[in-house]
Amino acid sequence: MKLIRIDMTRQQIREENVPEAYSGIGGRGLTALLIDAEVPARCDALGPENKLVFAPGLLSGTSLVNTSRISIGAKSPLTGTIKESNSGGKIAACLGKLGITAIVVEGRAPAGKLFVLTVDAQGKAALLDGTNYRGLRTYALCAKLLETHGAKNTIACIGPAGEAQMLSASIQTTDVDDRPCRAAGRGGLGAVMGAKGLKAVVVSTEGRSPDEMADPETFKEQAKLFAQELRNNPFTSKVLPRYGTASTMAAVNALGAFPSYNATKGVFDGWEKINGDALAKTITARGGQAQHMGCAQCIVQCSNVFVDEKGRYVTSSLEYETLWSMGGMLGIDDLDTIARLDYLCDDIGLDTINTGVAVAVAMDAGYKPFGDREAAIQMVEEVARGTEMGRLIGNGPDAVGKHFNHHRVPTVKGQSIAAYDPRGMQGNGVTYATSPMGADHTAGNMLGLYLGKKLDPLAPEGQVDGSRKVQIGMAAMDCTGMCILAGMGMATPAATEAMFKMIGAKLGKPFSAADYAGMGMRVLKVEREFNRKAGLTSQDDRLPRFFREEPLPPHNKVFLVSDEDLDKLHNF
């Protein structure tokens, strides 16, 4: 239970026990509490007053499967709000096994300096000169870092976009195969890392000093039960391993809620060429891996390894949201092009969602036609080159929209929506509008409710209550380190109960459903309070006007939830 504070200004490192105010919580909850307490809300997100926090989940580093999600938090330069973006790979499990509750990066390195932070197998941190890594893309960077520091390390790093402090810059983490293909993509946190002068964090995979478990026997027993529930669940045991998150594409297109051609249509003409079935078939025929373990301790294995026609590695993992942002939004129905764009974003260090939508806005504004594959690749490549157009794309859809004076920019608080249109799935619109994170599908995705016929996706009624419930649940889950997809295993009462018992076994006190919901509510309240202090009001909890004015085919609906109802979301 220790915090490691890295003072980039003086290159000093200090360890401390986790203060009482931050104890008993992990992941997003910890980043939220720390940032709210220690970061001036109106500070420049790219200035020295901001802090970048790496926090594994409360259960990361334990024996529980699928708990290697790292929450990375800061004030976001993209949204101006508090931000948590989480990523998979190995780093959360490794930090947990080192007994590290969080790494807090503070201050700002002197101009022209660049550093690499290492954490060895004893949990000792060191700040090393990283000037020679300047400008490197993430794949080349990680290969060099592993060569220098040894293969038994895992990495979180930035690419050229982060160094240039672009607002769509991601922080990439290495997967189980040591590729920097997992991303804390949202909110421009790569730009914060770049502003601090930190190129990479290299963490030993050989840590053997996790925090003590208050009740190890109960934890072990419940962890086994939870894993069995995941193996019994058809979604996590059959659908995800075979078709990945791309399996979602059939559902969202069938509902007419797949924002395509920059959110002007709800069904993408070529979606069956890029859906889960097509992806699995293509990968398998070429000798790639349609099923792949991307993150430590994962038994779902929804990842994949996409290869070209000659069987050579292109990217991992090609996910639903990227198939949308680089596919449907751009009118591109070619898997090879989308895979190339995914690789480029990982390599340059860019959020695939914000970047794809930025390209979509440029195409919609007439810069290039929809479906122009080469133009899309060139626009993303230009980000790394730092050209004028590249800087626009790298700074996201709002920057592109302003440049072209184009009205159709699907963002909330500056961050792009994801692959669910608010007009076809009204509750997702509520989540986009009201999440303290800006538009973010992982903050409260309503798809499961619609497919289960619990709510009508096209009607305004019930969406605020539904979104509130899901947002609270997700805020709680984001504290645990549990993967959102494995978290779907909590659909059964047995798995849900096991989760509560495990948290109780970790903390050494009873933990109930009410405590779990309370944890989620506490996180949302803290995040919202930070945003209030930063100057945001309920007027920022709104979708762009075009969602209310331009009907989306095929249902030809607009966003119908009233402002008055949106303002009730945080009544709890």
Partner: protein, 80 residues
């Protein structure tokens, strides 16, 4: 008779011998048939987590099948 056009996704195409994923399959059902009848024809059990969407909306198993409707049937999903 009712005529419907169906497309299947995920592991579901395996339920229909010779299924062509590009063309889908056209089925004829008795007048008054319900979604549950269609599911039974395709070997989709009542407790199976397959979603049946008709005309852009998720159908209940007791909904009547619309003549000429286009249906898409896919495994349950929770997002990406």
């Amino acid at each position: 008779m009712l005529t419907v056009h169906i497309k299947l996704y995920g592991s579901l195409p395996g339920r229909v011998p010779g299924y062509d994923p590009e063309k889908g399959v056209t089925l004829e059902l008795d007048p008054g048939a319900r979604i549950s009848d269609l599911a039974a024809r395709l070997g989709i059990g009542a407790d199976e987590e397959a979603v049946i969407a008709m005309a852009g909306r998720v159908a209940r198993r007791d909904d009547p099948v619309e003549n000429g409707a286009s249906l898409r049937i896919f495994p349950v999903a929770h997002g990406g």
